[in-house]
Symmetry: C2
Subunit: 209 residues, 2 copies
């Protein structure tokens, strides 16, 4: 009897699981990672939450990963040292990839200042499954909002290595979408995010008027 | 103007996100963690995969977390030392809890030999969201199957601290379901798992004849 080839083994392995096509049929959407990156105060969490709510209302399955549900659970063992920050984002990238694999639209809202960690998240998600969205607003605008009071603390020296103050933010070179969040309303940003999902065939259906 | 109370703040926070009720309506099911525990060779992965497939065919959303998608991704940084094994299961418990929070039936298939780590996973999932399933088969039966050749390697001394050989397995004291996988067919086990999900109101609908 012939030895099984790699293709045979792969087929056997595939046969055991649920195919991506079956998940697409069930959910009427393709799984993906929508990765929001930008300075603190650039609107990532607000947009993530607004988009999630809108998609769920439309019968689409989305889930937000952000500091609220990651830092107190999965990454509760990590601090804010450079190595911990890298590991924080590495795990988030891997978890988001699992959500995408399950068929969900995983929306992540983290500053994620380094290109290398964002590229690692892209690799984890796999080809065609990672959309990088640059939430762009000038530092002065973000600092002016300062919803969490973090900039004030960073300026006072209470927070070290704060992105935009004493740590760098590496802007995406060719994001899948750039949102000018200083000059665009939340509603308009959400519409553009939805359009991106339609353009990339993650979701279907006509654009609302 | 009155200062906001804790309830006000909570309401504000809640208002931002998608409610569990909205997810239940969308998916027609409640999210939960179905945690399969038992010796290597006790049938955990086979049952997890068969149940996932069956639920998806019924239009229900399930996702299996197992060694294949966890050890090479999220937990690729961990080895097999005792501390690494604890951390491996801690993270799996946290990720499974996130999937349950998103509305999915997260099915985990890991030996998870210690009560303490299983209890930590239960806590992470939250009340009413964690179902512990003991896949029970005598060691001799599991070793006889030895589908991955691990027992042979453990007996040969090539694998250290192998559960059932030279490391303990702490049986669940009061599992939500005990499956006698040495004497029950895969199909019958899957039916009992489905019945458990119905009994706990995770899924609805009549039991199939």
């Amino acid at each position: 009897m012939a030895k099984p080839t790699a293709a045979d083994r792969n087929l056997t392995w595939q046969a055991g699981g649920v195919s991506q096509a079956a998940r697409r049929r069930l959910l009427g959407q393709r799984g993906c990672v929508l990765w929001l990156t930008g300075l603190s105060g650039s609107g990532k969490s607000t947009l993530a939450t607004a988009l999630e709510k809108r998609l769920i209302r439309q019968g689409r399955l989305a889930y937000v990963l952000d500091g609220d549900n990651i830092r107190h659970g999965l990454n509760a063992d990590l601090g804010f040292k450079p190595a911990d920050r890298v590991e924080n984002l590495r795990r988030i990238g891997q978890v988001a990839a699992l959500f995408a694999d399950a068929g969900l639209i995983a929306i992540t809202a983290f500053i994620s200042p380094y290109r290398s960690t964002r590229e690692a998240a892209r690799s984890a998600a796999g080809p065609g499954r990672f959309l990088e969205v640059f939430c762009h607003a000038p530092l002065a605008v973000c600092e002016g909002r300062d919803t969490k009071g973090l900039y004030r603390r960073a300026r006072a020296g209470e927070l070290k290595d704060f992105t935009g103050i004493d740590a760098p933010y590496e802007s995406p070179r060719s994001p899948d979408l750039l949102l000018d969040t200083a000059n665009t309303s939340v509603a308009a940003c959400v519409r553009r995010l939805e359009q991106l999902l339609r353009d990339r065939k993650i979701i279907r259906g006509r654009s609302p008027s």
